[in-house]
Amino acid sequence: MDNTTRYQRLLERYQNGDLDRRSFLGLIGAAGLAYGVQTPFARYAAAQEVTQVRFDGWGGIVSEAFREHAFTPYTAATGIEVVDGTFGGGDEYLARVRTSQPGEYNIAHLSGVFDYARYHNLGLSVELNEANIPNLQLCIPALSDAFRAISGGSLSCVPYDYGTTGIAYNRAYISDEEAQAQGAGLLINPDYTGKIGGWADWRTRIWYGALQTGQDPNNITDIEAVWDAVRQHRDLALRYWTSGAELMSLMAEEEIHVTEAWSGRIFALQEQGHDIGYIDPPNGFGWQECLFVIAGSPMEACEELLNFMLEPATSIAVAEGQNYPPALDPTQVDLGDKIPTLPAFDPTGTLSGLTFANPEYWNGNEQEWSETFSRVQRGY
């Protein structure tokens, strides 16, 4: 019996007069206390019959597409309810997961292979039974392989979509030719002082610092030169944006004229009629997102839900909604008309044209670089 039914029955007993007010309030209070102050015994709850699976994602149009194309049919087929939660960023979500009880969070729409590695290193990964997710066969193998390399061949997630963090510029002020010619250098061009933006993410700042100093982002040899480039960008920038919505607002309102940007968000702005250009400079930042199953989750229920979410109809609807190409292999699945027009789309299904962050390299430097970036950002 789920908790909602349990509380409804309790309320019914109280309303029928079978339970006095004091006892009713006492039981409700005790239930609240038990929920708020969970004990190690809460893990035994995992053994009960699965009635709910919790999914956390980025909200907005993506969640709407999931609800319509995956969660509703999944619930109709299995009777298992999907609790749909959202988060503002991967770091904040990881903090929530770390303070939760096992089984409280089940599936998350995570960014980047390094996020996968972080969850795995913190003991939050599981081993999926891929036989229960036949739609995984439809995905681009290169995407899954990146995850397998971290978790010793098995998967704790299924790949879901990919994109790039390239350079967006307002064509009213910066021409396509100038953007192409300058590439990453456009972000440290003093001509645009006060009209430059950037993502407040240490990885992206360092990645572009590497490009601006002519280095391989996955093998930086002169980190001091990179920090100098980060400082240079900091001094020219008006604002470090912290979300896709803010990025879109800053560009649409012309607060900034050039910034690094997420490909799907810029495509959305272009769809809205804004004259904004987008380029991926050589060694531009490619990334992929996945649906990660968190340790302590009901495995079969999660695997079944992942299979629903990887259904081509669902994947394509979500991809069209968020403007990022799906993980589905275009050589196996017809992706329709819109997806081939999205930035970063790879018709070959090999993703050989994109540069992804090497998770071992970046996670190995995470502690030092994230702390140093915090200082550099504040003027050090």
């Binding site: 950037g198 502690q367 702390e371």
Partner: protein, 288 residues
């Protein structure tokens, strides 16, 4: 049990539910944070329990943290002064209003009905390139091009003043409302001008309210995280932003714990100094 002993116990019995809640929800969590501050972050972002002084050594000796703490205190101090300068006349006007006092107080409370984050974000649409102010300036022909007003320390202070001003006005109002108006009349009958009676009678009597409002504005301002995150530029950060970054971005909960305890200690010391000289009673009046 004697009547005296029973009477001595009664306040504690009445206070016990509150003390229990405070112990469970405030003191115990703070103790957890104290314990965390002596642990270490591992290379994968987990924590290593033990007794290590590394975080405290960093927090207390690193120039970076000291500078950001001083910046935080400076911003909080400027905000408090601006709130006092703007809030006192408003509070005086409300306290001396012959009618519509309830309406004016209601208007003062109105901002509390809207989320602090939304109130902060509203400045983006006022001060932005295409915001209300730039549009008005250009429409009036005062400027030809939009002026860059957002994303600097001034807008952070502006956002803080917007957030904290009602706290100042309320505290000063409570204090002014308790000042007997006939005292000003008495000063006048002794030859004092309006300005002199204000400076020598009303202002000194309302200083406890001003001090209480200043303390609240300073403490709330120094502990803020949202305003610099929403209205600040790349460099603008206050101490709470560093705590956020340590805990959420760097997964360094032990360092975040030490940083948050340092901020707590600094602001706690300020409250203690206030209590020593003025007592917390006035603060309670303002909050009530």
């Amino acid at each position: 049990m004697s009547i005296e002993a029973r009477e001595a116990r009664q306040p504690w019995i009445l206070l016990s539910p509150t003390l229990t809640v405070i112990t469970l929800l405030l003191i115990v969590p703070v103790l957890f944070i104290v314990v965390y501050s002596f642990w270490l972050r591992t290379s994968v972002g987990d924590v290593q329990p033990g007794f290590y002084l590394d975080n405290w050594a960093d927090t207390l000796t690193d120039r970076f943290y000291r500078d950001i703490l001083l910046t935080t205190l400076r911003i909080a101090a400027i905000t408090t002064v601006v709130c006092a300068l703007m809030g006192y006349p408003a509070a005086y006007f409300i306290a001396r209003a012959k009618s519509n006092k309830a309406l004016l107080l209601l208007l003062l409370m109105l901002p509390f009905w809207i989320s602090y984050i939304i109130r902060t974000m509203s400045w983006i649409y006022i001060l932005g390139t295409n915001g209300a102010l730039n549009t008005a300036l250009q429409w009036l022909g005062i400027t030809a091009e939009p002026i860059q007003m957002l994303y600097n320390e001034t807008t952070v202070i502006l956002g803080l003043v917007h957030f904290l001003l009602p706290f100042m006005v309320l505290n000063v109002y409570v204090s002014l409302d308790g000042v007997d108006e006939t005292l000003e009349d008495a000063a006048g009958s002794l030859g004092a001008t309006k300005w002199q009676s204000f400076l020598q009678v009303t202002l000194p009597l309302s200083l406890p309210g001003l001090a209480a409002g200043s303390l609240l504005c300073f403490v709330l301002g120094a502990g803020t995280y949202i305003t610099p995150a929403v209205l600040g530029g790349p460099r603008d950060a206050m101490f709470a932003n560093l705590v956020y970054e340590a805990i959420i971005i760097q997964l360094n909960w032990p360092l975040g714990a030490a940083l948050s305890l340092l901020l707590l200690a600094v602001l706690g010391a300020l409250v203690m100094i206030y209590n020593h000289f003025l007592g917390l009673g006035q603060l309670m009046k303002g909050l009530g």
